[in-house]
């Protein structure tokens, strides 16, 4: 369970990024956070991973107040949350296998265990045959699937995906969301996907939270994203 309780975020420049954010996400939910660029979608996701802290309000991960977690325990929080970044954040000098293995390496897992878990997730995202390729040898869709594989290899409770279909064509975009849906169903992982792709949102019929200038304007189950 993830709960935002009257969250307010103001940047040092004085710009208000999020205002009075209140919502709860239950275990196993798949939600879209939608809104135009600058609506506050990425800021909201960064609050969940403690990359950023709210100016006021509280965020609960199950019963734990994320803001009360001591700095030294933040890595533990981040291991429970997988993130697919807008700019992928893959290491170009490492192979697909090595990129995906990174979250397990930081946990000092044994090589045999890493081998097994990485192969499992690469199979899940359909990239087993690309394990030894480098990111520059992959297509846009394959890069995004590598990023998803890295985000789920540590079996997180929550998966955050920030504009994962941003640079992809409609076919690949649908493919990516289908993979996220599969992860959501098979592993009961909470999926929070930030996007401004109305076509995808409307096709998958999930819960939709609409952000506009930092405020929630709509929160609907099987919602739609209507752009002007």
């Amino acid at each position: 369970m993830l709960k935002f309780d009257s969250v307010y975020k103001k940047f040092p420049s004085g710009q208000i990024a999020l205002e009075n954010i209140d919502f709860t996400i239950e275990n196993g939910e798949f939600i879209f956070i939608v809104g135009s660029s600058g609506a506050g979608k990425s800021t909201l996701l960064k609050l969940i991973t403690r990359e950023s802290i709210p100016s006021s309000g509280r965020i609960f991960f199950n019963t734990e107040d994320i803001m009360k977690i001591p700095k030294s325990k933040i890595p533990i929080l981040r291991r429970r949350i997988g993130t697919v970044f807008q700019d992928f954040k893959l290491l170009l000098t490492k192979t697909v296998f090595e990129n995906v293995a990174l979250p397990l390496e930081v946990l000092s897992k044994k090589d045999t265990q890493i081998e097994r878990l990485v192969s499992e997730v690469l199979d899940k995202v359909g990239l087993l045959d690309k394990a030894n390729s480098f990111p520059l040898q992959l297509s846009g869709g394959e890069i995004q699937r590598t990023a998803i594989a890295r985000a789920i290899v540590g079996k997180p409770e929550v998966l955050l995906a920030d504009e994962p279909t941003g640079d992809l064509d409609p076919k690949n975009s649908e493919e990516i969301v289908k993979i996220l849906e599969k992860i959501n169903k098979e592993d009961n992982t909470i999926i929070i996907m930030a996007t401004h792709n109305a076509q995808i949102v409307n096709h998958f019929k999930k819960r939709v939270i609409v952000l506009d200038k930092g405020k929630i304007t709509k929160d609907e189950k099987e919602g739609k994203y209507e752009t002007e």
Partner: protein, 290 residues
């Protein structure tokens, strides 16, 4: 083990920085070793000279043993002498023979009558020499007074200069090494900024991220200190005959291997401390993990 391999990979990726760091460390600790050896050697020489009489008083040929004992008592009553030793003509001959044992033709020509009896005076403090001199100065029985005190004074002075000069030079070099380590670690961190940021986001602890940099700092310290100790040992081994010849009867060789082990361990400890503190500063300065 895996992280050590990671450190070696880092070093291989930009070897010139690693070479610069190792050279700086080696040079610093080689010069430190040389100064330590000079200071320890200086102390041995000083101790040797201090054990020799501070003043030697030589008597004319016809002076009786009673008169010499009288003068000896006079010196002892001042309370300024640690010891006053009477060296008879025969004892003087024995010392002479020992000193010139390699030149039998010189020894052959000398008999006890040729050598004067003497008193070796060991003073408590070097500054008491003048006071004792006043007591013996105007005695008609005395033919000569020798003060090796100037050698001790000069040696003490030079040891002091060596200590201060060494301290200044070694401190400067240590600061240079320290700055080089900070720079090298800073460059390494900058090169891996993206990787570090990703590791941070996937849940790596600060220690996990910092560890390869610390291992690298320790590596430079250990390699630098070891090379320096080895160079010092090799240099001393090579020059020991010349040094011993220069020092004459003052025996400084062979130097105990324990001395080199302690020197090496001490330098490794200091060098790794420099490495660790340098890396810590770099990490604090360049690695701001949120």
């Amino acid at each position: 083990m895996k992280r050590s391999k990671e450190t070696l990979r880092l070093i291989r990726r930009s070897p010139y920085q690693a070479i610069a760091a190792i050279i700086a460390m080696t040079l610093t600790f080689f010069i430190t070793s040389v100064f330590v050896v000079l200071l320890v050697g200086g102390q041995i020489v000083l101790r040797f000279i201090e054990q020799r009489p501070t003043i030697s008083v030589f008597f004319k040929n016809d002076v009786t043993e009673n008169k010499i004992n009288e003068i000896s008592d006079k010196i002892k009553t001042t309370g300024l002498a640690r010891d006053v030793k009477y060296v008879t003509k025969e004892e003087a001959l024995a010392i002479y023979k020992e000193r010139f044992k390699d030149q039998p033709h010189v020894v052959e020509l000398v008999s006890a009558d040729f050598l004067p009896a003497s008193l070796d005076i060991f003073v408590n403090k070097p500054q008491d020499v003048d006071e004792i001199s006043k007591v013996i100065q105007n005695q008609d029985e005395i033919s000569d007074i020798v003060y090796p005190k100037d050698v001790t004074k000069a040696l003490t002075k030079w040891t002091k200069i060596l200590r201060i000069g060494g301290l200044v030079l070694v401190s400067t070099l240590m600061i240079v090494s320290f700055l080089i380590i900070i720079m090298v670690a800073g460059m390494r961190i900058a090169l891996r900024r993206e990787e570090i940021s990703i590791m941070n986001l996937v849940g790596a602890t600060k220690w996990y991220i910092s560890r390869p940099f610390f291992v690298e700092g320790v590596f430079y310290g250990v390699v630098g200190a070891t090379l320096a100790s080895f160079l010092t040992y090799a240099m001393l081994l090579f020059y020991s005959p010349n040094i011993q010849q220069f020092l004459g009867t003052i025996q400084v060789f062979p130097i105990s291997p324990l001395f080199f082990i302690y020197l090496w361990l001490g330098e490794i400890l200091t060098a790794t401390t420099i490495g660790i503190i340098g890396v810590s500063i770099s990490l604090y300065r360049y690695l701001r993990i949120k």
